[in-house]
């Protein structure tokens, strides 16, 4: 057996799956070429290009913005990131999310009054149920 099973998947969907004779991926420590019967390897990937040499001799290119590369003797899995990610980008996104919350927070009152909110919710539920009942009666 001198082919590899290659799966490129991301959280948002499957990108590619098939047989290959060689896979070249941008690993953290430099580009790696993986031929069948490669030793098991697990590494992070930098943003870059994954090159798949098809069994038909064709070359396929996939851009990944990073992720995890898992290699077993006859199987390569690329867990591609669905989003751009880097420490600073993550931090920027985190700050953004925090800022939005803080801006909205300025208007809020202190503390949660569980009982009053629950009462409010119960009322809303009762209204919904009443609507449902009225609707059913109207049908009859």
């Amino acid at each position: 057996m001198n082919t590899l099973q290659i799966d490129i998947v991301s959280a948002e969907g499957e990108i590619h799956t098939g047989e290959a004779t060689l896979v070249v991926a941008p690993a953290q420590e430099g580009e790696v070429g993986i031929a069948p019967r490669h030793a098991p390897l697990l590494t992070q990937m930098r943003p870059g290009e994954v090159r798949v040499h098809d069994v038909g001799g064709e070359q396929l290119f996939f851009y990944v913005s990073g992720g995890i590369l898992e290699v077993q003797p006859h199987r390569v899995t690329v867990l591609a990131d669905a989003a751009q990610r880097a420490k600073d980008i993550n931090e920027a996104a985190a700050l953004e999310a925090k800022k939005r919350a803080e801006e909205a927070l300025e208007k809020r009152e202190e503390g949660v009054n569980y009982s009053s909110v629950q009462a409010e919710l119960a009322e809303a539920m009762a209204q919904l149920q009443a609507l449902e009942r009225v609707r059913r009666q109207a049908k009859r």
């Binding site: 959280a11 590494t43 925090k98």
Partner: protein, 288 residues
């Protein structure tokens, strides 16, 4: 009895409303199908990443990542609440908030403080209105949520966990059971419940580049982000099916109203004709 003309205008306006609700129903139905496809699309990734985590755990039994360690004392808990952006979807959000509040109240009763991270416009306004401590938020995710819109909020919560500011993290979302029913659920995200480890037939290990610890950290981060992403996608599917049902019943109701109005209209018309005839007959009788 109202005049025939007024009733006719009323019927027209209800018909227009019915057209709109009918259109919304069909739009929601097609979006629901797409959302379900998206739910299925993230499954291979989830499966694979779980395998890798299981293996890493097996291969490095002595390294305990903070995400995997159960904390005895819980002083503060985090909730990630996922709701829809828009309404018109029946009791979907109300049910979800009810469940969230019950969970929050339980922790409050145990003396734990609560931080909330919200995704979706409805949860955002609800949490702010009740005065919860919202530490991160994002809304306007749309029908096709993207990972990049979620990373910010998730990172805030994961960092808080790493730094020990929160000791538990939960995610609250609607679970898609089938088109007719959705169920709000609270899942524990952190600490991660041990991944079911498969028996290894022979011991083998990966070559790690650069280090097993760094990799485990990375893989776990992605695993958690993916779980939140899956939650959001599932919630979209719930939103669409709930909206479809709500709009279907609205359309049915409009149909009933039209039927009733039509009846009233016919009666009014008949009464008018009868009256006119009576007038003519009595007029003719007077002449004779």
């Amino acid at each position: 009895m109202a005049g025939a003309k007024e009733i006719r205008t009323q019927i027209k306006s209800v018909q227009n409303t019915q057209k709109i609700t009918k259109a919304m129903e069909m739009v929601a139905a097609s979006k629901m199908r797409k959302a379900q496809d998206r739910m299925a699309a993230s499954r291979p990734y989830a499966h694979k990443i779980r395998q890798v985590i299981g293996h890493l755990g097996n291969a490095n039994p002595d390294y305990r990542h903070p995400f995997l360690v159960e904390r005895e004392e819980v002083k503060r808990v985090g909730f990630i609440v996922i709701s829809t952006d828009r309404g018109l979807c029946g009791g979907l959000n109300t049910n979800l908030f009810k469940k969230t509040l019950a969970a929050m109240k339980e922790w409050d009763g145990k003396g734990a403080e609560i931080d909330v991270c919200v995704f979706g416009g409805k949860a955002e306004s609800f949490m702010h209105r009740i005065g919860a401590n919202v530490v991160a938020q994002n809304s306007g995710l749309g029908d096709k949520p993207h990972m990049e819109d979620l990373i910010g909020g998730v990172t805030v919560m994961l960092d808080a966990y790493k730094e020990g500011r929160i000791d538990r993290l939960f995610v609250v979302q609607n679970e898609f059971i089938n088109t007719m029913s959705q169920q709000p659920e609270v899942h524990r995200l952190l600490p991660i419940e041990p991944v079911k480890e498969e028996e290894m037939l022979e011991h083998w290990d990966y070559i790690y580049e650069p280090s097993a610890e760094g990799l485990l950290d990375d893989v776990l981060m992605r695993y958690l982000e993916m779980q939140v992403y899956q939650g959001v996608v599932e919630n979209v599917a719930c939103e669409m099916s709930a909206r479809m049902i709500a709009m279907k019943s609205a359309t049915d109701n409009a149909g009933e109203i039209i039927d009733n109005l039509q009846l009233v209209y016919n009666k009014a018309r008949q009464a008018a004709i009868t009256q006119e005839l009576a007038e003519i007959v009595s007029g003719a009788a007077a002449v004779e």
